[in-house]
């Protein structure tokens, strides 16, 4: 009987109400993730390129994005992504559905991803390099081979620049000998650059306008209508990988988000490293050492309320105290030779982590206190009765038993900190900081550097780009990524907590 009827009968409507609200919440959550996944991840799929012939004979090639009923137009209008900003001055085109005479998907249409002007969509006529000219179908094959070669050359050039030239330039002031090494590296880069430059593509849009495209600006080329499903999946995987592994291009409107992922994770880890010991010590004092009187009670209430202070307030505090106060003093004492350009006296990774540590401190204190309160007194007395001092009792018996609760606190802190954007804007996040704060240059971890953050990246791409329509898929993809990063961070902590609990069984609940 009980097993059959999950929702008890004869208790009126309230069990249904409760179940209904739960279902609604879950549905909204699933909807959110579904929206982010479809809109974000769909962006990397090589969607087919349609050749549209209009009633008046005009031609255009584009990817259909969506259809809308325009309020003052009679019929429906369809939006095409047509690319070719250098030819058309725009990359979007609205077309009335009634005016479309014919649609087809010719297999020879190419899409080029370029470093300037965005994408090109049209036909490839010829490839010219060092006086040789290849035409027709052979040009496509030659282009593919040449693009692979270019990618390898670019990778080597970037590696040289990031790993040799940039550190050398930083050391120049101290080491005069670096100059010769620098000159050698620069010569090599110039040589690579010369091998990258030179080629030209002759392109034609579907309506017959011709274009000469320097080959060095072309990153990738594909023919979406000629691709097999496995090739499309591979291209999609490559797109997702580049989004994760590369730095942003074109004022954040293209390219990847690797520096932002790295910045977010590093900042959250630094924050956890700072907040955990402080929070745990504070909770130990409140629960184990302080006299449990009215004052302790007041402090406890105050700490709980601190968790509700708006995050921007912490940002202002961080700016005033950490950046200008402590950072300014540090600059005067240790980096006076670099003034007036600030080292620590400006927003940076360290100050952002400290500000967020302050923000999440109450969460860790409250969770740890609850864990401490759940350790039965007879465990404490058992340790004392064996001749343990209070410190030994705490470190050997009570704290190991509280570890899962502490980790719960850290999980909540991470979830809150990774999603905060407002305070970061005041204390150290940057729109563009392609150099991640960890490199091979002493002291390896550069706490004073500005960093990129996924949350701020979303805001920046969505509101500060030149073309919101084009940026939207990236916004969805970055948002999905932020959710995933928080999920991974939390799962790590949850796994750790489970491991700790599994070692000795769960703490008995009182």
């Amino acid at each position: 009987m009980i097993g059959r009827a999950r929702l008890p009968r004869g208790e009126g409507v309230w069990p249904w109400l409760a179940a209904g609200s739960l279902a609604l919440s879950l549905l909204m959550l699933a909807g959110l993730l579904f929206l982010l996944a479809v809109r974000g991840m769909g962006h990397f799929w090589p969607s087919p390129l349609t050749l549209v012939t209009l009633e008046d004979g005009r031609l255009l090639a584009g990817q259909a994005v969506r259809e809308e009923r325009q309020p003052n137009a009679a019929g429906r209008e369809r939006l095409y992504l047509t690319g070719n900003r250098d030819l058309d001055g725009a990359i979007w085109r609205w077309v009335a559905v009634d005016e479309i005479a014919e649609e087809s998907r010719p297999r020879d249409l190419v899409v080029l991803e370029r470093t300037r002007w965005g994408s090109f969509q049209g036909r490839l006529l010829a490839l010219e390099e060092r006086g040789e000219r290849v035409e027709g179908e052979a040009a496509w094959a030659a282009l593919q081979a040449r693009l692979q070669e270019l990618a390898a050359l670019r990778a080597e050039r970037d590696r040289l620049r990031d790993e040799i030239v940039v550190p050398l330039v930083r050391r120049m002031e101290r080491e005069p000998l670096a100059e010769a090494e620098l000159a050698r590296a620069s010569a090599r880069i110039r040589e690579l650059q010369a091998r990258i430059a030179g080629g030209r593509l002759l392109l034609e849009s579907v309506d017959g306008r011709r274009l000469e495209q320097p080959l060095e600006q072309v990153l990738r080329a594909w023919r979406p209508n000629a691709m097999s499903p496995p090739a499309k999946v591979a291209a999609w995987g490559g797109g997702v990988w580049r989004f994760l592994a590369e730095g942003p291009r074109a004022a954040n409107s293209a390219g990847g988000v690797w520096p932002a992922i790295f910045g977010t994770v590093l900042m959250v880890l630094l924050m956890s490293v700072v907040v955990t010991p402080f929070g745990v010590l504070a909770a130990i004092y409140l629960n184990e050492i302080a006299h449990q009187g009215r004052l302790t009670h007041l402090v406890r209430i105050a700490v709980r309320n601190l968790a509700g202070v708006p995050s921007i307030v912490y940002g202002v505090f961080g700016l005033g105290v950490f950046v200008y106060g402590i950072g300014g003093s540090l600059d005067e004492w240790f980096f006076a030779d670099q003034l007036p350009s600030p080292t620590f006296g400006t927003g940076g990774l360290l100050w952002a982590s400290l500000t967020l540590a302050l923000l999440t401190l109450p969460v860790v204190i409250v969770a740890t206190e609850e864990g401490l309160a759940r350790v039965p007194d007879h465990q404490r007395e058992g340790a004392l009765a064996l001749g343990a001092t209070r410190v030994e009792m705490l470190t050997r018996v009570v704290l190991p038993m509280t570890a899962p609760a502490m980790l719960t606190g850290v999980i909540l802190a991470v979830a809150r900190a990774a999603g905060e954007v407002a305070p970061l804007m005041l204390v150290g996040v940057a729109k563009l900081a392609p150099q991640v704060p960890v490199d091979g240059d002493f002291p390896f971890l550069h706490l004073e550097r500005k960093f990129m953050h996924l949350g701020y990246h979303i805001y920046d791409v969505a509101f500060h780009g030149s073309d919101v329509q084009a940026a939207l898929p990236l916004v969805y993809a970055t948002a999905l990524l932020l959710v995933l990063v928080i999920l991974v961070l939390n799962l790590t902590a949850i796994f750790l907590r489970h491991h700790l609990r599994a070692r000795h069984g769960a703490l008995p609940r009182r």
Binding site: Q379, E381, G382, A383, L386, G387, A388, R396, H504
Partner: protein, 270 residues
Amino acid sequence: MSVFSPRSADGGPIIDFDPVSCCLEIEGLSLAYGETPALRELTLRVPRHRVTAFIGPSGCGKSTLLRALNRLHDLNDEVHLSGRIRLEGQDIHAPEMEVAELRRRVGMVFQAPNPFPMSIYDNVAFGLRLQGGIRKRQLDDVVEWALRSSALWDEVKDRLKSSAWALSGGQQQRLVIARTLAVRPEVLLLDEPASALDPISTLKIEELIRNLKSQLTLVLVTHNMQQAARVSDYTAFLQEGELVEYGTTDTLFTNPRLARTENYITGRMA
């Protein structure tokens, strides 16, 4: 002779031991939680290498008395204590007496089994590791000896590294006794050690208590009359913080001096 001669609350005589054969001397001990008195002017002596039981109704102060013997009340600011307790002639509240050292000499086993969240081996080694300066081989030997002394060795010798929380309640309680024995205490305080256990486990604990008295002095607090009668040599009956009667277990249970002792023992009064 001190001004506190052992006597019951009504002034009647109680059993006494000469200073040579007594282990703990309690003189004029009074204790209050804030304004509420819990013990009033207790004076009694506990003999060495014997089992002494404290019995009495709930709230009579027997657990409070037990916890005073290893200064577990120190942590509670509310507790006010006066009088004197001597362990082997040494005042346990004297400045030169270190509380950690005292608690090593006076071990305690609590009502609910409280093994620490670590392996069986680590539980037994806990007290010794606190003292430090002990080699692994020595530690292994002591752990085995302690587990054998508490009749647990055969049951756990193959899983010393597994969690102590996986043991049954009775095994946990014997583990706690082993843990206490490992630091070689002179006195073992037992606060209702079998009240949370099943009858078979209870019998094992009682047998253990009888066997241990050749090694150390045991003080047992219990609610269970039969248990006190079965395992103890001497029994003290407390009521409302006062010592009512104290004598050999045989005398107290068969021929009590006072009517209220008899009423309690025979169950005519809760």
